[in-house]
Symmetry: D2
Subunit: 268 residues, 4 copies
């Protein structure tokens, strides 16, 4: 049987496409993190560029690059889980290079990270979850990565506090910190989360006994912050600690309004 390679034909309309690929692919991944192996089910996006003279790409080769990297079933390879999301992504790109021509390739992984925290008063262990996203972007002359963390915290309004003898409105807020930098730049997602989580009126915890709840409440009132303050503190600390282009976005789910308030800033 003859197989037609329609993707290799010349398209009638000649336009370069910057990103062609697959998105929302969920599969199982394995990471060796601080000496322990974890399985998890991330969401993948993988894309390459298509030159003007090619009609399309072979999507199944992108999928294969992911799945083969995941299983690493090929015998000659060391069966060693990757130690970071970006290392896993670069391994996918390396496989893709042998399978499909391209100038530019990107792999993105969205997943959650669970970190151990200690509650502020009872000193119990509390496991906290964070949304993280990591992308590796290979271009002809360089490889870059984008690291993104999303942290849930809170804001206690300083304006209402000044006008109500210490009483104020408080609410859940969500802050995103993104860094775009060289692939080789050593930045841990945990450190990025630490910067963000420490910039709210207070961090939040999954498990809080009454004395812990009291400590969080006290901290929020001692540390009132506008959404603007949270954004400023995150970018200030991030610039000191991490090398690269920085983007910060904080959204506060106001308890006195039906809408949200935002503060966004960037450093390039």
């Amino acid at each position: 049987m003859q197989i037609f390679e329609t993707q290799e034909e010349r398209p009638t309309i000649r336009e370069k496409l910057h990103r062609v690929g697959i998105t929302n692919l969920r599969t199982v991944a394995k990471i060796n993190w601080k000496g322990k192996t974890y399985t998890f089910i991330p969401n993948f996006e993988i894309a390459i560029d298509v030159p003007e003279e090619k009609k399309g790409i072979h999507m199944s080769r992108l999928v294969e690059s992911i799945t083969e990297t995941m299983s690493e079933a090929v015998e000659e390879e060391v069966i060693q889980p990757h130690t970071s999301l970006e290392e896993l992504e670069l391994a996918i790109i390396k496989r893709l290079e042998k399978k499909h021509p391209h100038k530019r390739a990107e792999v993105w992984i969205k997943t959650q990270l669970i970190l151990e925290r200690e509650t502020p008063a009872s000193k119990r262990k509390s496991l906290e979850s964070y949304d993280v996203e990591v992308g590796v972007i290979k271009e002809p002359e360089k490889v870059e990565k984008v690291l993104r963390v999303k942290v849930i915290g809170n804001t206690a309004c300083p304006h209402a506090m000044a006008n109500n003898q210490g009483k104020t409105h408080i609410q859940r807020a969500v802050a995103m910190l993104e860094i775009r930098t060289d692939y080789d730049e050593g930045i841990a997602l945990e450190d990025m989360i630490e910067v963000v989580e420490g910039s709210f009126s207070s961090p939040t915890y999954t498990l809080l006994k009454t004395i812990d709840e009291n400590a969080v409440v006290q901290r929020m009132y001692e540390n009132p912050k506008f959404v603007e303050d949270v954004a400023r503190e995150i970018i200030f600390k991030a610039k000191q600690r991490f090398k690269g282009k920085i983007h910060v976005k904080v959204v506060s789910h106001e308890s006195i309004h039906k809408h949200d308030v935002i503060a966004e800033t960037w450093y390039v």
Copy 2:
């Protein structure tokens, strides 16, 4: 050209289907509300039952029942907008009766309602938005309706307040009130919203000048409530005011946790 009516064939597997139809259909609707005509773009679901011996339904006839009711372009009809969502839905079912055989028919509309409120101190006008959903369910022996409103408010924790000399954590909360009752039962969505909005620590407002913000802050501290208290107050008031089966669900987006807390109750 011969057209094959595949839907009328007998299916190999004989199973009654309770709800077959279309969902997520968006179209423009017109309502005459308190003497004024409003256009809006709701989301429709319409479903009928299919007996064991029929393979499928004629989906386009369901769409026609909606679109013809919307346009009311047919000459013999009075071109008068309907005065409530349920009246509009019953008109759709009446059209459907002439188009497609069925025993049971449902029409659901999801949309938003904007109501005028007065801010607590400066007495300005503030327009507030609410998610509403209305369904009309016609069965052989009766016609019922389901009315659902979703209101954004807040909770100020009484437990933290008692343990922190009046300080406490506060957060946005969302409450849903649903009533299932006879089609003819006169219940206004605005009245349901009023019941829910008055059961939080405080209502929320789109526009708040500093003196209004202060009034909302003061009210939250004078009126601390668990998510349980909000649910209890809604169902208590709803039972007094409305006739029918009642369902209440309150979700509080805790400012000290990453997760939410819920309280749910019902009366049948």
Copy 3:
């Protein structure tokens, strides 16, 4: 320091609450599945009832029941991962019984399952992902469970095929199968997924080489199905294979419309 137990007070409004608890809690879990240990990050909901005379519940005890069951750090316990989501949930309820009085308790877990499939022609391994949800509901006289799977497949319209000389419109469809049954009833999520996945025009695959793609295309045209046919086949097979109350909902994301079509049925 005195701690006020506000939750234990009598509320002013006396109404029984059926479900009070926490939702959207994400934490790491471990399951021993067919002899292998997997870590994953599910979404938890846990709720208990509150009698008329109690103001609230101690939310932190619900969290503790989850987190302690997860870590099983207590020395006297066998450190053996649970072998199913429902076994894990029952273990959480067992812990909760020692911590917080209640008559009724529920634990719900939402997560994804990855299963190995073989592609239809090249016989390669393809890892497929499925949304699953499992709840255990303990009532005074019985313990029940709810098992829910959501599977992505497709429909090829028989009506358009009959009217277009074998050509037709095809689209992605999503089907949900839910079974409510006794806790002790042995039903595997994998078997439920198998029933659903086999009821579409064709199963879908993550990895498809050209010969596999051809096989899937051929199968869809040989097996045209209305969304009604998919629903009927799922409930028919489910009744034969599983004991309990059954609910089926199929949504087809029509390629020729902007809206979706649905078919829903149940057996009690």
Copy 4:
């Protein structure tokens, strides 16, 4: 009573913030479109920049700029609905200029547009819905706008068609076209929608009688397209027809896979 203007204080950390404001605000709006007045409930975002030496902004003044523009209750003004979303947004910015100092201001509106189409064979009227988003960005030296439309269509795979004697897999696809241009550039959202809708294998319709369904099916098979082809055709036509920076993103919800495929391109 003294009111503290905490927002006017100097922050401890000095960082410029590019975008501070409110988001997800829903309120009623009125537009005069082709001579007819329509009410609708869009979602608003409004943001301004904050210099290093200011702690925060007065959020209520942003809300006032929206609500006053909406009501236009001020007597000296012509009570004439605005004729486009960007005109409405510029009017909001004009009000904001009198209320709150800033260098840069943005207003964004997300809503749906309903357009009348004619079905391909029976020539009936079918109302089609589209997601649209418009932003006006005022900077010291210029005013720009961003116009974004999202259209639901379909793709019929040319590769599978070539390898299966005319049979192929078909699926729903969603394409986004965004243009960033001078405020004064006259570009109608309807024209952008036309460009996108005409670039799929076939447009989709809310109402399709059997002869219309046949026409859509025939058109899809005569017009097979990769997601790459759809993206190429949109950007090619958009460059010819509209002046500005162009961004195109097409997502195809594959009927043979659980994941989606994407093609994205831009022109600056």
